[in-house]
C-alpha cells in the first residue's frame, strides 16, 4: 500500500557522486555541526548522515560513499546501490559531479537517472571551472539528460540558494507523493552504453579551458621524484612527530594545570571521605589523566586530514603499490593504514574501496597494528617518564619524538611482516589488478578539517566521560576496598588481589601487580591503563595530585617500560575495533584469529625484550 506524505515523517535526501568530486565538502557545508554516524536500516553498514533546515523543517542528508558506478564491485559501490535502490526510497538525490571530469562522471548520473527518483545534477567546482575558462552549456545538458542541472561550488557556497529552492519545491509537491516511485522495467544499461551517451553529451555541452593539472604536474615533479619524493615523505613524518611533542606541550600543560586546580578546588569542597576519594581519585585523576592527551591526538588527526584532502595521500598510495603488491596488499591499502594511525575503526571501513576480497581482508587484519591515537597517551606518558627530553638534531628533532617514531615504525613493521607471512603461506594468490584515480592537488577545506577535529574531540571526551569514567569508578572502588591499615592498602584491595593473581603471568615481561591492574583495565580501551594507574597512584598518595611520571618510575625500570611499550604496540586491546572487524568481514573468524594473533605476538615480543634485555645486562 502506498504511503501518503503525512505518514512519512522523515524527509531524506541522498548525496551521490564519484570519489574526489567534492561530495563531502558539500555535505559539510550543508549540515555543519549537525552530523552523525549511524547504521543503514537493514544493512549493517555505517553511514554518514546530517540534518539541515529547509523551510523550518529538518531534512536528513545521507552522504553516500563515492563511487564510479552502481555495479557492486567494491563494498562502497554496494552500499551506494543498496541505499539508492532500497526502501524507503530517498525523497531526492543530489548527484554531485566534478565539472572538470564530466565525461568520467556522467555514467553514474545516467545510472541514477534510470532509478527514476527526483534527481538534481550539481556540477561542482564552479570556481575552478571559471578560473580555467571551461564552459558548460547547462540548457543543452538539461535537455539531453532530462534532469535539472545547476552549477555550484561546495567550497565557496556558490549556487546554494538555487539548490535549496529546488529541494523545497520537490519536497513540497503534495500532489505528487514520492510513493510509489514508478520504475518501469528497463533493460540494464551496459557500461559501453553509458560511456557512449556520456561522450555525446560532453561533446555537445563542454568547451574545455586550460587544464587543471598543470599546477599538479609541477608539484608531482617533486612528490613523485625518485629521491625528492621519499625525502619529502620522511620530512613530513618528522614534522608530525615533532609537532606531537612540541606544539601540543603548552596546551597539555594548560589542561594538566586546570585538572590539578579542579582537583584541589573540588576536593576542598567535599568533606565526606568517601565522596572526596571517589571524585578526586576516581574521577578527576583518572579521566583527567587521559583528557590531557587530547591536543596530541588532534595534531595527528589534523595532519592526516590535510594529507588526505590535499591529494598527497593518493600519491603516497600509488608509490607504495609496488611494494605492497609483493605482500598481498595493494596501493589502496595505504589509505586505511594511514587512517588507522588516527583510529583503526575508520581505517578498517576505508578498506571498502579495495575490490579484491582477499586484499581487503589482509588490509583489515593488519590495520590495527598501526599506532592508533589511543596508544598515544600510553606512549607519550612512558616516553616522557623514561626518555630524556634532549635534542638529537638541535631545533629539528628531539630524542622523545624519535622514540615515538620508533614505536610507530614497530607497529608498521609488524603489519607488513604479518601481511607478508600470510601472503607466502595461507592466503597466497595471484596479484589482482590495481588502478586508482590521481586527484589534482587542492587546498584542503578548512571547514571540513575543523569539523573533523571538533568531531574527534567530542568522540574522545565522550569516551573519557563514558567508558573510561565507568571503568575508572569501578577500578577506584576495587582499589579502595576493602579498607586496610597495612603498609600497602591498595595491594590488599580487590583490584590489588586481582593484580597479584595475574602477576605470575606478567612478571616474566617485567610488570608488577599494579601494571597488571592497568593491563586488565586496558582490555576495554588502551588509554584506560593511563587513567587506572593515575587512580591507583592517587589513592596511594595522600596529596590531591601526584606526578604520574614520578610514580611510574617507582614501578618500572627502563627495560620493563620498554617491554610495556612493545606490548602496547602489538596488542589488540580495543573491543570497538573487534566489533567493527566482525561487522566488516561478516563473521567472527577474522576478529577472533586477529585477537589471539596480536595478543600472542605482543606477549611473546614483550617477553623477548625483557628477558633478552636482562640477559644482555640491561636494567
Amino acid at each position: 500500500m502506498p504511503l501518503t506524505l503525512t505518514e512519512k515523517k522523515d524527509r531524506t535526501i541522498v548525496l551521490a557522486g564519484n570519489p574526489n568530486g567534492g561530495k563531502t565538502t558539500l555535505f559539510n557545508a550543508l549540515t555543519g555541526l549537525r552530523q552523525k554516524v549511524g547504521n543503514y536500516p537493514g544493512i549493517t553498514v555505517e553511514k554518514k548522515t546530517g540534518t539541515f533546515v529547509l523551510n523550518g523543517a529538518d531534512i536528513t542528508l545521507i552522504d553516500l560513499p563515492g563511487t564510479y558506478s552502481l555495479s557492486p564491485r567494491s563494498e562502497d559501490a554496494r552500499v551506494a546501490a543498496q541505499v539508492l535502490k532500497g526502501e524507503p526510497f530517498p525523497d531526492a538525490v543530489l548527484c554531485v559531479v566534478d565539472g572538470n571530469t564530466l565525461e568520467r562522471s556522467l555514467p553514474l548520473v545516467l545510472q541514477i537517472r534510470a532509478l527514476n527518483l527526483p534527481t538534481l545534477v550539481l556540477i561542482n567546482m564552479a570556481d575552478e571551472l571559471k578560473k580555467m575558462g571551461t564552459t558548460i552549456d547547462l540548457k543543452e545538458m538539461e535537455r539531453r539528460l532530462s534532469l535539472p542541472v545547476f552549477t555550484i561550488s561546495a567550497k565557496t557556497r556558490q549556487g546554494f540558494p538555487d539548490v535549496k529552492r529546488w529541494l523545497s519545491e520537490k519536497l513540497k509537491e503534495d500532489s505528487c507523493p514520492s510513493f510509489p516511485v514508478s520504475r518501469p522495467h528497463i533493460s540494464p544499461l551496459t557500461t559501453e552504453d553509458l560511456r557512449r551517451e556520456s561522450k555525446a553529451i560532453v561533446q555537445a555541452v563542454v568547451r574545455n579551458g586550460r587544464s587543471l593539472h598543470a599546477f599538479s604536474a609541477k608539484v608531482d615533479k617533486v612528490v613523485m621524484h625518485k629521491v625528492a619524493g621519499p625525502l619529502l615523505f620522511a620530512g613530513v613524518v618528522l614534522v608530525v612527530f615533532q609537532a606531537v611533542f612540541s606544539w601540543a606541550g603548552p596546551l597539555m600543560d594548560l589542561i594538566d594545570e586546570t585538572i590539578r586546580l579542579l582537583g584541589l578546588g573540588v576536593g576542598g569542597l567535599i568533606t565526606n571521605d568517601f565522596l572526596h576519594s571517589l571524585v578526586v581519585d576516581g574521577v578527576i585523576a583518572g579521566v583527567g589523566g587521559v583528557v590531557v592527551f587530547l591536543p596530541q591526538i588532534l595534531i595527528v588527526f589534523f595532519f592526516i586530514s590535510v594529507m588526505e584532502n590535499s591529494g598527497y595521500l593518493a600519491r603516497a598510495a600509488i608509490v607504495m603499490d609496488r611494494f605492497f603488491s609483493k605482500i598481498g596488499l595493494q596501493g589502496k591499502s595505504f589509505l586505511p593504514f594511514i587512517s588507522s594511525y588516527a583510529c583503526a575503526i575508520p581505517g578498517i571501513m576505508a578498506a571498502r574501496t579495495i575490490e579484491s576480497r582477499r586484499e581487503r581482508l589482509a588490509t583489515i587484519f593488519v590495520a590495527p597494528f598501526m599506532t592508533c591515537s589511543a596508544r598515544l597517551p600510553v606512549y607519550a606518558l612512558l616516553i616522557a617518564a623514561f626518555v630524556p627530553a634532549v635534542p638529537v638534531v638541535k631545533g629539528v628533532i628531539g630524542l622523545q619524538a624519535l622514540a615515538l617514531l620508533a614505536l610507530y615504525v614497530l607497529g608498521f613493521l609488524a603489519a607488513i611482516l604479518t601481511a607478508w607471512g600470510f601472503n607466502s603461506t595461507v592466503m597466497k594468490s595471484d596479484k589482482t589488478p590495481f588502478h586508482m584515480e590521481v586527484p589534482p592537488y587542492r587546498w584542503p577545506p578548512l571547514r571540513g578539517t575543523l569539523l573533523l577535529l571538533w568531531d574527534r574531540s567530542k568522540v574522545f571526551i565522550r569516551q573519557a566521560g563514558g567508558v573510561i569514567l565507568l571503568v575508572n569508578v569501578a577500578l577506584w572502588f576495587l582499589a579502595s576496598y576493602p579498607k586496610s591499615a597495612g603498609p600497602e592498602p591498595v595491594k590488599e584491595s580487590y583490584a590489588g588481589q586481582l593484580g597479584v593473581m595475574i602477576e605470575p603471568l606478567i612478571k616474566p615481561l617485567g610488570f608488577n601487580w599494579k601494571i597488571g591492574v592497568g593491563l586488565i583495565g586496558s582490555q576495554a580501551a588502551r588509554e584506560v591503563i593511563v587513567s587506572s594507574l593515575s587512580t591507583i597512584y592517587s589513592i596511594e598518595s595522600d596529596q590531591n595530585s601526584v606526578a604520574l611520571q614520578d610514580a611510574l618510575r617507582q614501578d618500572l625500570t627502563p627495560l620493563s617500560a620498554l617491554s610495556l611499550l612493545v606490548f602496547f604496540a602489538l596488542a589488540m586491546q580495543c573491543m570497538a575495533t573487534t566489533a567493527v572487524v566482525r561487522r566488516e568481514t561478516g563473521g567472527w573468524k577474522i576478529p577472533v584469529v586477529q585477537f589471539f594473533y596480536m595478543n600472542g605476538l605482543a606477549y611473546t615480543a614483550a617477553l623477548v625484550v625483557f628477558q633478552g634485555g636482562r640477559w644482555l645486562g640491561f636494567q
Binding site: E192, H213, S216, R322, G331, F434, H435, M436, V438
Partner: protein, 92 residues
C-alpha cells in the same frame, strides 16, 4: 596497422585505445574509468619506482599497474604536445 601496448609508451607519448585484452570483469572496471576502445590515453608520468604508471584521459589522471597496461593495445601512438607534464617547466 602499427599498434603498441600502453606499458611500452614513453613519458609524453599518447595513443588511441585499439583493444583491451583483459577478462570481462577487468575490461568493465577499466571502461567505468573511461579506458575503452577509441579513448585517447597519454602517459603522464612514472611513479618513483617505475610501476604503477600514471596516465591521462578524459581530463583526469589514473594510476595503473604495468601488468594491466600491457593488456591495453594502442594505435596511432605519437608525441603528446598537450601533455601538461611537458609543459610544466615551460614559462607559462
Amino acid at each position: 596497422m602499427k599498434t603498441k601496448k600502453l606499458s611500452e609508451l614513453s613519458v609524453g607519448e599518447k595513443g588511441i585505445v585499439f583493444a583491451v585484452e583483459a577478462d570481462a570483469v577487468l575490461s568493465d572496471q577499466l571502461l567505468e574509468l573511461g579506458v575503452g576502445v577509441g579513448e585517447e590515453l597519454s602517459f603522464y608520468g612514472k611513479s618513483p619506482f617505475g610501476d604503477p604508471m600514471v596516465i591521462g584521459l578524459m581530463n583526469y589522471k589514473l594510476a595503473i599497474r604495468k601488468a594491466e597496461a600491457a593488456k591495453i593495445i594502442l594505435r596511432d601512438v605519437g608525441p603528446n604536445f598537450k601533455n601538461e607534464a611537458n609543459h610544466a617547466t615551460d614559462a607559462h
